[in-house]
Subunit: 254 residues, 2 copies
């Protein structure tokens, strides 16, 4: 169950709203309405909120291999960050920051301590030893309704000897499609993942996880996802994902 | 991709065969043919191999809560371990040990260093801090073709605030159905997981993950899986899983 846009607002307090997505951001936080696109708004708001507090796990570190860095630089060179000051026409990739904490409080008098544990960490970012587990960065391109994730699989993700665990691959698919669906229809929860495993992924590999929006029907968002070698020549895994828009009270009810 | 029976043979050397499953065990290692059932054979062989070397993660530790312990004791009281010395008629639950290392070598002159990394750890057992991530134990009952897993979800598995990540749930489903399929048709790889998420699982909860064998068709094994509250009253997740028997060389080819 992915709640990734919610996730990246870890610790964020926004007057009168639960900081779960672009809708609340745009309607309740005028100071954030500096850019034309929701994803740019999100990224800029997060930068100021987290700059001195939390580590952005989607930035390069010393564990990233050559292929990971090459692809990171490739997408970054086409991103809004690289073209600061220009108006985003949706034809750029936007890097999505990534933190390991969830929100702690909602303002407006509602305290979410019931559902929050102070020690809780995002599953995909729960190991601080760089390179050991999930190393990944997501880029989003609004005009093409696509999300792409560069994923380097560390040695703690083993399933079959020397290869990535099917659950770790499912986790990345949930993360990428969930983030994508959140940007389109936040907040969402995973309703279905249908995953076909085609060929195993060797530990230490860098692969691409690409998500495409297929259709929206009411509260439902349907997406497709492919995990491939970085040159696209080898299909490792493909999946269909369904997310449903939810109200935050859904989580409070359990 | 689950390879759980292979996994529990971590470090095991058996003359002339890759130690991947019950078939090899029965045909190549006469000293292991002390019991009538493959799962009993596996458990007994593993006990002697690992007793002084590796931690069996499926044994109770101080992080296990009351519900986890109650269920562990419930299934243990009906297990072969509790009735040592009696012939197993398949009407008992067998606890399956669980280790965090994979095999390092194959004998017969084949060295698998190419696919092995010394630092690699099983994804579900990669955090040694007890109670922080996946705490689980599997029991298998041959006469009913069922596997049941008691799973306590730690605070490092967060997805939606205060709840278990969909990828962590998928990981447990892959693990339980994969272990089950391995006991029936080892060695296997995951081919498909189709997962429906019905209601979120609060962090810290103990739930049951139950796997049932639906049918076998040639190299294919079809299983169903349900994740429920421990009293069975609440359905959290349900899934269909397909595994295919493989040759070890499949992994070597990548």
């Amino acid at each position: 169950m992915a709640r990734n846009v919610g996730r990246i607002f870890s610790g964020f307090r926004c007057s009168g709203s639960l900081p779960f997505g672009k809708t609340q951001l745009k309607t309740r936080c005028p100071r954030l309405l500096l850019r034309t696109t929701p994803e740019r708004t999100v990224v800029q708001a997060l930068s100021s909120i987290f700059s001195h507090k939390s580590r952005d796990f989607s930035l390069p570190n010393s564990s990233w291999g050559e292929e990971m860095m090459r692809l990171y630089n490739h997408y970054s060179s086409q991103s809004g960050e690289a073209a600061e000051g220009q108006e985003d026409q949706g034809e750029q990739w936007t890097r999505l920051p990534s933190y390991n904490r969830s929100l702690k409080y909602a303002t407006g008098g509602v305290y979410l301590s019931k559902i929050i544990q102070s020690k809780a960490r995002l599953f995909t970012r729960n190991i601080r030893d760089t390179g050991a587990a999930f190393e990944y960065v997501l880029f989003f391109r609004r005009d093409k309704q696509r999300c792409v994730c560069i994923f380097q699989a560390g040695h703690l993700l083993e399933g079959p000897p020397g290869h990535v665990h099917g659950g770790a691959i499912a986790t990345m698919i949930d993360t990428v499609t969930g983030t994508h669906a959140s940007l389109l229809s936040a907040p969402v929860m995973t309703a279905n993942l249908n995953i076909n495993y085609r060929s195993p992924i060797p530990l230490g590999s860098t692969v691409l996880v690409e998500s495409t929006m297929d259709k929206e029907e009411g509260k439902k968002t349907f997406l497709s996802c492919r995990v491939t070698s970085t040159d696209g020549s080898k299909l490792h895994t493909e999946a269909a994902a369904l997310f449903v828009s939810i109200n935050v009270s859904h989580l409070l009810r359990g």
